[in-house]
């Protein structure tokens, strides 16, 4: 029983990290239907900003988090203006390939500056509690709480604010929205700023939970965020969170109860089966198409 509980807790922590990453990802994905493949690499940049802020500027946790989020948001908006804006009228795949290119650029630029893995100093005291044979660390609790808090915050922004309303309008029809007097560029920039800053925050939390960072750490994370967002239902914020938790749970539980060499095989087969039974993701709704 303790074994199962411990694994369940492990799943909760991993899931909350994937959920956090998927959150930022789905903002851009849901509102602009653009697969921002650079999100994983912006996440990596966030972790490196955290490293720089913590080691060079020697700042404590909260300023480091804010600086990293702000830095990544700035970078995200710049990338949007330079690389994605010219492609707004182009076919969707062009923007996706551009995002891929931006991502590869970020990875290799960081690598060219520093190929060595770096260590993030402990900014949050990480104490371990043991309850009845099961270990929980304070950092795990913080990450889970933070993910859920950010999800609620994001949900509020999207559903209760004017900006959020503009964002939802854009996701329905991009061409009509400017005609209604909504500053399209501003809202899109804000979307990117919020989405990428969440990615940066995820990078910081990830860096604190797994303190070794390297320039290529964002690649597989980016793909996992994509999987989480799709499995949860494209464009659905809650879906993205659920998708993240599901992905984390599947990975941990499969390794816990099957030989761990089969983990990827079983995990992806389960994901496939899920998509076969729910082809629009868990919370996704098929968009009616006019023929």
């Amino acid at each position: 029983m303790t074994y199962f509980l411990q694994q369940a807790l492990n799943a909760l922590q991993l899931g909350s990290i994937y959920a956090l990453i998927a959150l930022g990802y789905t903002m851009v994905y849901g509102i602009l239907t653009m697969i921002n493949f650079a999100h994983g690499d912006l996440f990596m940049v966030g972790a490196f900003f955290c490293f720089l802020a913590a080691t060079v500027l020697k700042l404590p946790f909260v300023p480091t988090l804010l600086i990293s989020m702000a830095g990544v948001a700035l970078l995200g908006v710049t990338i949007e203006r330079l690389a994605y804006k010219p492609l707004r009228q182009a076919p969707r795949v062009s923007a996706i390939i551009t995002a891929l290119g931006v991502g590869i650029f970020l990875e290799n630029f960081t690598l060219a500056l520093n190929p060595y893995p770096q260590h993030i100093p402990t900014l949050i005291a990480n104490t371990t509690f043991t309850l009845g044979g099961v270990s929980i660390s304070s950092l795990q609790i913080i990450i889970v709480v933070l993910s859920i808090a950010l999800m609620i915050l994001l949900d509020l922004i999207v559903r209760r604010t004017m900006v959020g309303m503009a964002m939802r309008a854009i996701s329905w029809d991009k061409t009509v929205v400017p005609l209604m007097g909504v500053p399209l560029n501003l809202v899109i920039s804000m979307t990117f700023a919020i989405g990428t800053s969440l990615g940066g925050a995820a990078g910081v939390m990830y860096g604190l939970a797994y303190p070794v960072i390297d320039p290529y750490m964002g690649i597989i994370i980016g793909w996992k965020a994509f999987i989480s967002a799709v499995v949860g239902g494209i464009g659905n914020i809650r879906g993205a969170m659920i998708g993240g938790f599901i992905l984390g749970a599947v990975e941990i539980m499969v390794a816990a109860f099957f030989p761990s060499t089969y983990r990827d095989f079983v995990a992806f087969t389960l994901l496939l089966i899920l998509l076969i039974f729910r082809p629009y993701g868990i919370l996704g709704k098929p968009r009616p198409q006019k023929v």
Binding site: Q6, Q13, L111, Y116, H119, P211, M217, S260
Partner: protein, 389 residues
């Protein structure tokens, strides 16, 4: 029609550009090539290799050059990136051989990149010395299992190292039950893990958990919880120094308190930087001990530290030794000729390198070398024991 013209122009231009490689070396230069993983999945390895290569070449050139057959030759170094891809390893090696006309190639480091490059070197009859590839297959012909003639390595091989660690665990740590956590997607990790298991079980021990993860995973809690359940006496982590700290820290958080042991992939100062106090007291096998250094080793370590600011890791030390072997071979060959270099290299009696004394086995590209067991004590690597073949 316009696109056709553009296209054919492009093709012609690139063919001319690539065909204009270097000619044979100038009257007194000898050309050496390096294929390193500068970008891709293991850039830290490539960076160390590049640093050591440049240092080795600069040392020789600053001293006036290599004395080959009575004439002084300056060394010209060509470093190619394989971008962490097997096909680029092959094309980089081929380019160095046919376009830059190098007399020998050092690298690549990881076995999965060294093997394709070694095929090119072997078929072109050019010496290739890999500093760090430990897969036994790198120096063996895949069809006949006979040793390749032109491929050499500067390090020991996985079967040897797996045996060394297993014996150490049994004899020194008195472990009866061992657990292993390794990367299933990586040839090095899996190879050593399996050789460890075979030796450990063959000597009467029991491997109670043989868990895996995939490269780039950062969360090992599921596998570690499983290992905790199996209650081993010692846990073997034949993984890279960037992964081990996470594994050890997560294990501690789960309440696992048995000793951890490792292999030469732990052999970088970065491990201590990344792991800190969590890794205190653990052992691992590697190629050389910085604190128990011979004068030759000490000289290199000090020079590297002065130039690059850190103690050389095992990749750097082995690369430096690979170059040292090459210099010795060139000098005794007496001429800048690929075949002569190969013959001289195979016949080197005893070479005193940074990573120990080595000598190539009869007709093989694998050196006879000892390993050392180091312990992490007081935030430093401390020599513990030698392990001889």
């Amino acid at each position: 029609m316009k696109t056709l013209k553009l296209f054919s122009l492009l093709v012609v231009v690139t063919m001319i550009a690539t065909a204009c490689g270097g000619g044979a070396g100038g009257p007194s230069t000898v050309k050496v090539g390096v294929v390193a993983e500068l970008t891709g999945d293991i850039p830290a390895v490539g960076a160390s290799c590049k640093n050591a290569s440049e240092m080795a070449v600069k040392e020789v050139n600053d001293a006036g050059g290599l004395d080959i057959g009575g004439k002084k030759y300056k060394v010209e170094l060509f470093i190619e990136d394989n971008a962490g891809k097997a096909d680029q390893s092959a094309s980089a090696a081929q380019k160095l051989i046919t376009q830059q006309n190098v007399v020998a190639i050092i690298g690549p480091n990881a076995s999965r990149y060294a093997i394709p490059a070694s095929e090119i070197a072997e078929s072109s009859k050019v010496v290739l010395i890999t500093p760090w590839s430990t897969n036994p297959k790198t120096t063996l012909d895949a069809k006949t299992n006979a040793p390749k003639k032109y491929v050499f390595r500067a390090c020991f091989i996985d079967p040897f190292q797996g045996r060394v660690v297993a014996k150490f665990a049994m004899d020194n740590l008195k472990a009866k039950k061992a657990a292993v956590l390794y990367d299933v997607a990586s040839d090095y990790n899996k190879g050593i893990a399996e050789f460890f298991k075979t030796t450990f079980e063959g000597a009467g021990g029991q491997v109670v958990a043989f868990e895996t993860y995939t490269t780039n995973d950062k969360d090992f809690s599921a596998q570690l919880t499983k290992i905790k359940q199996a209650a081993p006496d010692v846990i073997f982590l034949p993984n890279y120094y960037s992964e081990v700290p996470l594994q050890v820290q997560q294990a501690h958080r789960l309440g696992i308190n048995v000793p951890f042991i490792g292999s030469d992939s732990w052999g970088s100062d970065e491990l201590i930087k990344l792991c800190g106090a969590d890794c205190e007291g653990y052992y691992f096998s590697t190629h050389y001990a910085a604190d128990n250094a011979t004068p030759v080793a000490k000289k290199m370590i000090d020079a590297y530290k002065a130039k690059y600011g850190t103690t050389p890791d095992d990749v750097a030390a082995l690369t430096y030794d690979a170059f040292g072997l090459l210099w010795t071979a060139l000098k005794s060959a007496g001429k800048v000729d690929r075949q002569a270099v190969r013959d001289a290299l195979a016949k080197i009696p005893k070479y005193e390198g940074v990573t120990g004394t080595m000598q190539f086995q009869e007709g093989s590209g694998d050196p006879i070398k000892s390993a050392v067991i180091l312990q992490i004590k007081g935030g430093k690597f401390v020599w513990f024991a030698n392990a001889n073949p």
